[in-house]
């Protein structure tokens, strides 16, 4: 046996802090944005996000509006062109990202903390947020890009199924609008629509600032002030309307020239502050949320070879987000797979998990907690969630205790009240049965 150890100069091994939970610091900026900060001194970099309550749920009768507004921010700001903005970031190795879903519009910056790099990245980022120009020529190009994206959806059975699922799950609620919009709507958008949307929602009282990285408290305070200083104070977005339950079971079948049928099934699920959150989360972990060892995976993949992957999850949102389960199977097995899926869910709602299953789920969830906060980017995601949904600052500290407190009886009770196996929305997208 031989050993050839390579040792590099260690920069700061003294800070080998084995934090179980990140130390979250919280304050408000002068103009009313909530700030969530975790110092992470080990790497010479910082992650910054500004999250607005300005997702597609605010599109109104203009689907695609939120998405396009977000996509336009780095296309021109404060007189800088798209090329100049892109170059300003690239020259110092900084990464800028924009994303927009139903609840959140997120703008993120990752940069080195070295003075000049940091200064140039932060100045550019602040300018994008505060002074977008919405110039005409880039507007038309982005419009075409969104239209091409909608065409790409038409060739993806999964995307078709997802659209049909949301539109029918939320027939009269803003969550029924797809963030990518519709071709008709996207074609009619104008720069003026985007400016109006920006002015209403991209305001500091509607924003959360997240900072994770190698900066101290006073530096973090300056960052938060700088990225929000150019924003109008404005008002927080109003509460979204409540989601109506499905009145009856519904089955939608869309023909598509594919070898597999995509099956998506579900109903309105839970909100982020839902009192049933923990029993439903832990219960679903057992049913379909734990990958290869879940009940659904066992029934559909392990026992029957019907699919490569099947899952179920609750997506907690401002109002009731979807409870969704999905799989793909060859066309001739679609009926069988759907029957197994329904029966497994129905049985679980009726009988709940065993004590042994619950114990295993708790071990898995609580034992894996360290893995969920083992990088700056994961911590930043949690801060955005805590800030946006106004969860308590000790949410992560108490997470394992809340999971451990869940009982079999609570899971059964919560599933019986909240999941109705006889009123599921089911979407099938696929081709005809292949002749053997």
């Amino acid at each position: 046996m031989f050993a050839k150890p390579f040792a590099f100069v260690a920069l700061c091994l003294t800070s080998a802090l084995a934090w179980a939970n990140p130390d979250i610091q919280h304050w408000d900026t002068d103009n009313g944005a909530g700030v969530y900060f975790v110092p992470a001194p080990e790497l010479p970099m910082v992650d910054i996000s500004v999250v607005f309550n300005a997702g597609a749920a605010r599109d109104g009768d203009m689907p695609g509006l939120a998405k396009m507004t977000s996509a336009m921010l780095d296309e021109g700001a404060g007189g800088m062109s798209a090329d100049e903005i892109a170059t300003a970031f690239a020259d110092v190795g900084a990464n800028f990202g924009a994303s927009s879903e139903r609840d959140m519009a997120v703008f993120s910056l990752r940069t080195l903390t070295e003075d000049q790099a940091f200064e140039q990245a932060l100045t550019t980022y602040s300018q994008i947020l505060a002074k977008p120009d919405f110039p005409q020529a880039p507007f038309e190009r982005i419009q075409q890009t969104l239209l091409t994206g909608l065409q790409a959806e038409n060739q993806s059975p999964k995307a078709i199924a997802s659209r049909a699922f949301y539109e029918n799950l939320y027939p009269s609620h803003p969550y029924g609008v797809m963030p990518n919009g519709t071709a008709d709507s996207v074609k009619q958008l104008t720069p003026e629509d985007l400016k109006a949307f920006y002015q209403q929602y991209f305001v500091s009282r509607n924003a959360v600032v997240v900072i994770v990285g190698a900066v101290d408290r006073s530096e973090a305070e300056q960052i938060a002030e700088r990225v929000t200083a150019g924003l109008a104070a404005g008002e927080a977005a109003p509460a979204l309307p409540q989601v109506a339950e499905l009145k009856s079971a519904e089955l939608i079948h869309k023909s598509f020239p594919s070898t597999q049928t995509t099956i998506v099934m579900g109903q309105p699920g839970i909100s982020r502050d839902d009192p049933d959150y923990f029993p439903l989360y832990v219960g679903n972990h057992i049913l379909g949320g734990s990958g290869l060892v879940s009940m659904l995976s066992d029934e559909l993949r392990e026992k029957r070879g019907l699919t490569y992957g099947v899952y179920s999850y609750f997506r907690p949102m401002q109002q009731l987000g979807p409870y969704q389960m999905a799989l793909q199977t060859r066309n001739e097995k679609a009926e069988e797979a759907l029957t197994v899926l329904r029966d497994t869910v129905k049985n679980f709602v009726e009988t709940g998990p065993s004590e042994a299953q619950l114990t295993a789920a708790k071990q898995n969830i609580t034992g894996g907690f360290a893995l969920r906060v083992d990088s700056n980017s994961k911590i930043a995601d949690y801060l955005a969630m805590i800030g946006f949904y106004d969860l308590p600052l000790d949410y992560l500290d108490n997470f394992n205790d809340r999971v451990n407190a869940v009982t079999v009886a609570e899971i059964k009770d919560a599933f019986k009240r909240r999941v109705n196996a006889d009123k599921m929305l089911t979407v099938l997208v696929g081709g005809e049965t292949e002749k053997q």
């Binding site: 590099f8 080998a16 892109a86 000049q116 075409q144 790409a152 598509f256 070879g305 295993a360 990088s375």
Partner: protein
């Protein structure tokens, strides 16, 4: 302004040596198993990966994809564990685990609290030599893999093109066939095929164990000796070279599939770090910088000129294959913008390449690409998993993990003249394969049993 940018770059260059927070230790057990430990004490977690030198490029026709389905079967029980029991044990220990198969490797991993590393070693060492391949389980798993193939390839028009494109670009090289295997091969694996494959490649002297995270190398070594140490080494077969025949002219293929959007792929045969001659060792890195000039983010030439200025592409990307076991492709691929054709996009790409051949890239662009590479090496350190991946992949394709540590230095040494030189040498039609996705109607192309959409309450 330009001076300032260059100053930043100089600072970034100095940053790297001090940045190596992590210590790397390398060991080899008596049975030939390699162990590499990378310390990262930021969080109380550990990533454990076992890498085998086997993948689809080790396969021949008739059994394509066998490395991949064997990876599936590795979860189906050993002399000591029931099918799926390993997954349950990892779950009970609060861990995550999975596996992946590529052209040049098969790897298994666990992510765990740092105190649970032993669980990983105990069962990874078990399934390295004691796997049971049961015929009934295999027949079920063939169905699962067939579903995986339908999902990834059959019902995805771009993936169909990619598969045919590789099969056209590579004739005798095993990069010809897909990692997941051809469908008819998937349907016909027999238990004995897998047993032979397992026996041949799954052995301590054909494996590298990579551990990254909040661990002490000595403790990890002791654990490795305890669990992997007793395993018997295997006579590992010498791999046939399967050298790619010389290409003698432009190759073009078309794939028709139900789709709305056309897609273009162009690939040139290029040397990689493993295959390049010693005096040309800089060439793969020059190609790497060239890829950055074209597609290194939103400020690079493709985004700036093809997407924003000429509006000929909705998206277009360039990718160099630096690290693979065999000669590979430099690929440029994209979707034409609305109202533009695949031919328009190809023409625009060719003009870009001609410019790289005619003019050296500007110092500013070169500096920008290098600044991004330097920054990315800092950002990558935020992921323990990525750090372990990098080490395992390099070792398994036959390079030293140190090659990864030297990546930034090698990129930084590339000059504008070198970028121009590789552009002229490699972007020639005799090395080129072009693939085009030709969209077919999404409705009415096949008679449907249903009469269109149905909606039942």
């Amino acid at each position: 302004m330009q001076m300032q940018k260059l100053k930043i770059l100089a600072w970034l260059a100095m940053l790297i040596p001090g940045l190596a927070l992590a210590q790397v230790s390398e060991f080899e057990l008596e049975n030939g198993l390699k162990l590499i430990v990378k310390e990262d004490h930021r969080a109380p977690v550990v990533v454990s990966q076992v890498w085998y030198k086997v993948g689809s490029s080790y396969e021949h026709n008739g059994i394509t994809g066998i490395s991949h389905i064997l990876e599936h079967m590795m979860f189906k029980g050993t002399e000591n564990l029931e099918p799926n029991e390993f997954s349950q044990i990892i779950a009970d220990n609060g861990g995550e685990h999975n596996a992946f198969t590529g052209r040049d490797y098969t790897a298994y991993f666990q992510k765990l609290h740092k105190d649970r590393l032993e669980v990983s070693f105990k069962h990874e060492s078990d399934r390295m030599r004691n796997l049971i391949i049961d015929s009934a389980e295999l027949i079920k798993e063939r169905d699962v893999v067939a579903e995986e193939r339908r999902m990834r390839t059959e019902d995805n028009p771009k993936a169909q093109l990619r598969e045919s494109f590789n099969a056209a670009a590579f004739m005798s090289s095993p990069y010809h066939h897909p990692v997941i295997g051809w469908m008819s091969d998937i349907h016909h694996y027999q238990a004995d095929d897998l047993r032979d494959w397992y026996q041949q490649w799954y052995a301590p002297n054909n494996a590298t164990v990579v551990v990254a995270g909040d661990v002490e190398p000595k403790t990890v070594l002791e654990l490795a000796k305890k669990y992997f140490g007793p395993l018997k080494p295997e006579q590992v077969a010498e791999l046939k070279p399967q050298t790619e025949v010389a290409q003698k002219g432009l190759r073009e293929i078309k794939v028709k599939a139900p789709a709305e959007l056309p897609y273009l792929m162009m690939g040139w045969k290029v040397p990689v770090v493993t295959t390049v001659a010693e005096d040309k060792a800089w060439e793969p890195y020059a190609l790497e910088v060239l890829a950055g000039i074209l597609d290194g983010g939103n400020s690079a030439r493709f985004a700036r000129e093809l997407v924003r200025e000429q509006q000929v592409a909705t998206n277009v990307g360039a990718g160099n294959s630096l690290f693979s076991r065999l000669k590979d492709l430099f690929v440029i691929a994209g979707t034409p913008a609305n109202g533009k054709s695949v031919a328009d996009l190809e023409q625009a790409i060719r003009e870009q390449l001609q410019r790289l051949k005619d003019e050296p890239v500007t110092e500013q662009e070169l500096a920008r690409v290098k600044a991004q590479v330097v920054a990315d090496t800092v950002y990558e350190k935020d992921s323990v998993f990525y750090q372990a991946m990098q080490i395992g992949m390099l070792e398994t394709i036959g390079l030293d993990w140190m090659v990864g540590e030297n990546y930034v230095d090698n990129v930084k040494q590339v000059t504008a003249e070198q970028v121009q030189a590789v552009a002229n040498k490699y972007f020639v039609d005799d090395r080129l394969t072009i693939g085009e996705l030709v969209p077919q109607p999404l409705d009415g192309s096949r008679p449907a049993v249903t009469t269109g959409d149905t909606h039942v309450r």
